[in-house]
Amino acid sequence: MAQLDVQSKLAILADAAKYDASCASSGSVKRSSRDSKGVGSTDGGMGICHAYAPDGRCISLLKILLTNSCIFDCHYCINRKSSNVRRARFTAQEVVHLTLSFYKRNYIEGLFLSSGIIGSSNYTMEQMVEVARSLREDHDFRGYIHLKTIPDADPALVEQAGLYADRLSINVELPTVSGLKRLAPEKSAVRIEDAMKETKTSIIDATDARKKFKSAPRFAPAGQSTQMIVGADAATDGDIVLRASTLYDSFDLRRVYYSAFSPIPDASTVLPLQRPPLMREHRLYQSDWLMRFYGYTSKEVVAAADETTGMLPLDIDPKLAWALKHREIFPVDVNRAPRERLLRVPGLGVKAVTSILAARRWRRLHLADVARLTVSITKLRPFLIAEDWRPVALSDKAELRPVVAPKVKQLELFA
């Protein structure tokens, strides 16, 4: 094979990396290079999205594979052994150089490095750790690094990776074990979970150590995350929500990403070759939000799904679906209800609820006051009691749904 230049390699190895949904650069510690050593900073809280692609996804990190050669043959993966995709491999120094030259032009927050498995799991992991080491030690890089770890790699290597990286992740790939067996026969759900458990332990240990010794090294300060593919196996939304909730609880994950399975070039016939279920993916993210920020339990989110099919409605969001099934708790009085109750009102976000709680110490809220704090009062009205408002006919679902459900739009040509 002819030698490829860096730009050609980048085209191949970025293309190969795009099926990973995560691009977060948030939640790490605060760092800066104000001392004029090295380069880079992290905010500690919010990440920065430096561009958006026409797929609506944020571009925050340089997201690439070290190589797209792989000894595994996972059907859903464009890089599987049996695929005819063009192969390439970066050297560690090429990745380091690319990262720095993009970073210095303010294109990115840092690097998200993943890799196909070449040689052995340990060999591959060593190469990835070397990239992170060189960035941190040779170039004093203080931007964000996310490394994808390899389940079978030696825990000592993962330990090292965690010292350089802000975030580590391992993908569970599919929401069901039977799906994993069918689509990724060489991967093992047990090994993946073991690896996540080890990372969790390392993070806890490092946090404990820092409580005792300020100089103790940090380990993956932005935590760990995972991803599952939606629509390639038989899992229902209910299955996925419960699985995600178990993952959050068992492994202290910062995020679970959902990736609608999309057709890949040179696909395996095992797979559904359909347009990716983007609305379904969106509803799953919304349900994830309900669990993380709105105090819903996973069982409550599942209750928003259809009892028979286990699927969340596509035409309305899960919060509204839950509310329509739980009429008895509405209407909620904006002037009296506690925070948890207000958070259940469809159309009231976390910020609006905080504003309502602050404002009502000063005045009895009328509908017009609530309107100033929210986007659409029309959809909220049936669920609220305000000083000058009490909804009258909140009796049966058939009447309410057309009022609060979004109008059906003609689909965008490229939607």
Binding site: Q7, L10, A11, I12, A14, D15, K18, S33, D35, K37, V39, G40, M46, H50, A51, Y52, A53, P54, D55, G56, R57, I59, L62, S101, K104, R105, N106, G179, K181, R182, A234, T236, A260, S262, P263, I264, P265, S268, T269, V270, P272, L273, R275, P276, L278, E307, T308, T309, G310, S355, I356, A358, A359, R361, W362, R363, V370, L413, F414, A415
Partner: protein, 464 residues
Amino acid sequence: MHRVKLAEPDDFNGWREAARGLAVGGVAPADVTWQVGEAAVDLFGEDLPVPQSDAPAFSVSRAFVDLARKAVLHSDPERFALLYTLLVRLRDRPGAVDDKADPLVRKLEGFAREVRKDIHKMRAFLRFREIEEDGQGRYVAWFEPEHHILRYNAGFFLDRFASMHWSILTPDLSIHWDGETLAEGPGAAKGDAPAGDPIEEVWKTYYASIFNPARVKIGAMLKEMPKKYWKNMPETALVPGLIASAQARESGMIARARDEVGGNSAIAWDALRDEASACTRCPLHANATQTVFGEGPVDAPLMFVGEQPGDQEDLAGRPFVGPAGQLFDRALAAAGVDRTRTYVTNAVKHFKFEQRGKRRIHSKPGAGEIDACRWWVEQERLLIKPQVTVALGATAARSLLGRVVTIGKERGRAIALADGGTCWITVHPSYLLRLPDPAAAEVEFGRFVEDLRVAGAGVAGFEN
């Protein structure tokens, strides 16, 4: 009239000093004008001095100071006066800044929000270009902020790029960092910034490659990266082309995969059946004996979809082996269709029944069960890719077409399916078994055979 001259449009300290004195002196908001720099003439008569007052100073909450710091950076000329109005109100009601529903507070919070957004977008969308200067690189950016945020944002770029030499040029102001001091200069023009940087081509390659053409969401992109920012971002030049070619690239991927049926269809079908054997997508799995998956060659050009397995199918684990299946076989033979070259399956793959004593009585699957099981039928169709699919009965028709179907109305005509191939609708063979009148049953059997014959004839190369 009191006139306050502020040094710069983002002069928070100047505003604070003046506002504090005026508020303590009891000056009403309507009696103050605020201006930045020197205004030519004063249209409103002479300037009054700030009244001396013995009134004690008052303190304001941190929340107000934070709000004011941001709102002062806004481009709206009213910002200083509005903030002063709120400050005067705080003298009597110190917590009024928390009254989020108040129109004035809301307006100023809106200012602060827009400023924060502008600050964030500048950090995100500013692009440096490298030039050679005194033997080392200098990174220069041109940016057009909406509000007066450049000075405020300098700290961010210092935190990040203190080891580099850089300049940020905007229409009103420019700042320069030489590794030691931060210098200010006058506003600049776009042409003062470098026109390009060779690395931008590499960056564009990345931008184009990380985009997934199978999931175009233009609205989501525009919401976060509105077009007003595009002109100073090199990668956005690629967007129209990426969108234009996306659909062709996606359908190309699907079409190619359809044409080149891989050698692993049979393996894929085995894997699918194995996965289906553990299906719990709907509650029917609880009482049924087993999943009854489809059966037949994976390259069958003709596919039949029935309703659901019956008592005998449930026990045997194979479709169409009970009385209705036997009648179906007879009809196929009469229609001259070779059963060994067809794929038969059911819309619902578990037996739904009511227990009556020792007997299990067939019970019609509901819409939810059909919808839950449709995933499997779709997977089967994706693998088999039949030219013609025949729906036997209303349940099958609902599964294939995704809507309620009246058989009498739609029987006997070809219906195009969204994923390619055609569909014919006829009755389920068990319907024929239930007809009490033998003569009527005879007539209906004839119609059924005719439907099967027509469907079979629609398959290319499917000669008797």
